[in-house]
């Protein structure tokens, strides 16, 4: 313990001196670069709300069409058993969306960290906030790795970098140093973003997701038919027809939602790569701004798509 303290006592000033020396020749970020980081951060935060909604939406439509089938059963006990089974199955279905959400929280934390780094409002609390975000990001990555959604563990180096930055005195950093750290932070995060987005896209493009979508498309009319046949001698309220049409429309939106989410996710990764290159290599900012515009357009499409679905429910 004493040895550890002694080593820390000697090593800490050495490390601070080392990092300041090796970073001393880096240029500060331009206004356009800072604005690009802010724009990316907002886009990243907005995007993270959507991917799991596809799985939630499929689960919700499945529950609704199941109610049509349950209502077609004559025996009271059979109907209760079916409704109980539906409830249980819906909970299971939502687990996939929850697993997806866990990994998307990383994007939200990363977005918060970026905002903090490029913020003009420098204060003594920034170091504390940034350290806290580093820890949050670290715990989220560990949580996702524990869930074993992806084969390859997500890299945790980014959170360590955040902690390291604070470790040598983020509270007292000048804007120039803050910009250098932003550059290093974005660069470190690129691998994490690429691995995460690749995994998200692979899940969305899994042929089994297509099978699930097709199953809902064919099961909905079948379940509604059973409901209508069970009421052959009784007039059916037109509100059920409207409910059926609404569900049919939601089923048709699955494929579009899947496509828009995939495009936006790919664009997010591509834009982050451009951002990292722009900060690292001083690459032409025009290319980055063009990518950012496309990313915003993709996310707006995604927002419109889900607003359309919300208006149907």
């Amino acid at each position: 313990m004493a040895l550890k303290q002694t080593r820390q006592l000697f090593l800490t000033p050495l490390l601070i001196a080392l990092i300041l020396q090796v970073t001393s020749s880096c240029a500060t970020l331009s206004k356009e670069q800072l604005k690009s980081i802010e724009t990316f951060s907002t886009a990243c935060d907005n995007f993270s709300l959507y991917p799991s909604l596809l799985f939630t939406e499929i689960a919700d439509v499945r529950l609704e069409r199941g109610k049509f089938y349950a209502a077609s059963l004559n025996d009271a006990q059979n109907r209760i058993d079916e409704l109980n089974a539906l409830h249980k199955a819906h909970e299971q279905d939502l687990l996939l969306a929850a697993k997806y959400d866990a990994s998307l929280k990383i994007l939200q934390s990363y977005s918060n960290a970026l905002n903090l780094l490029v913020s003009d409002n420098r204060s003594k609390t920034r170091g504390t906030e940034f350290r806290s975000l580093g820890r949050t990001l670290d715990s989220l990555i560990i949580e996702v790795n524990t869930l074993k959604i992806f084969t390859d563990a997500l890299p945790t180096g980014i959170a360590k970098s955040a902690a390291t930055i604070v470790a040598y005195g983020a509270e007292n950093l000048l804007k120039v140093k803050q910009h250098r750290l932003t550059r290093a932070f974005v660069s470190e995060a690129d691998t994490l973003i690429q691995v995460l987005v690749t995994s998200l896209v692979q899940t969305l493009q899994d042929p089994k997701v297509a099978v699930m979508i097709e199953n809902e498309k064919s099961a909905l009319p079948a379940n509604y038919k059973s409901f209508l046949l069970s009421r052959e001698n009784t007039p059916v309220d037109p509100q059920f027809d409207n409910q059926y049409l609404e569900l049919l429309d939601r089923c048709e939106q699955f494929t579009y939602s899947r496509g828009y989410t995939t495009s936006a996710a790919k664009r997010l990764a591509k834009t982050h790569r451009e951002l990292a290159l722009s900060l690292k290599k001083g690459k032409n900012i025009g290319e980055l701004i063009a990518q950012l515009s496309k990313l915003i357009a993709d996310i707006e499409m995604l927002q419109k798509q889900y607003n359309k679905i919300i208006s149907l429910t």
Binding site: K4, L18, D75, K160, T164, E188, D190, Q194, V211, K281
Partner: protein, 113 residues
């Protein structure tokens, strides 16, 4: 149309076909109340299997990512190579990265003690 090459996915398609037949029988004319009840139960068995298959496929969707590990590893390797290539051209950025890696390494070794 997606090619269905998964056992559970294929069974799900088959179950839908069987359910269609079962529902046709359940609502056929001239059935006794007992026959109706039996057919209702048979239909529910198929529905139960449909739900089980959906749960299994949901689990497989999450697990399938594991099988694509090689692809992910190749991607990470490619990214590392690109990063190294970039580092050759941008001395300062590499220095920052190296410094952070070095500090991370040293802090990790301290934490291990």
């Amino acid at each position: 149309m997606t090619k269905i090459d998964n056992v559970h996915s294929k069974e799900l398609v088959e179950i839908q076909k069987l359910l269609e037949k079962a529902e046709k029988s359940r609502f056929a004319t001239g059935l006794t109340p007992d026959q109706k009840l039996e057919l209702e139960k048979a239909s529910m068995v198929l529905r139960k299997r449909e739900k089980e298959l959906i749960t299994l496929i949901n689990k497989e969707i999450a697990e399938d990512i594991k099988k694509e590990g090689t692809q992910l590893k190749n991607l990470s390797k490619e990214m590392r190579e690109k990063s190294t290539q970039m580092g050759k051209n941008t001395k300062n950025a590499t220095q920052v990265k190296k410094a952070i890696q070095l500090i991370n390494h040293l802090i990790s070794s301290l934490e291990l003690d």
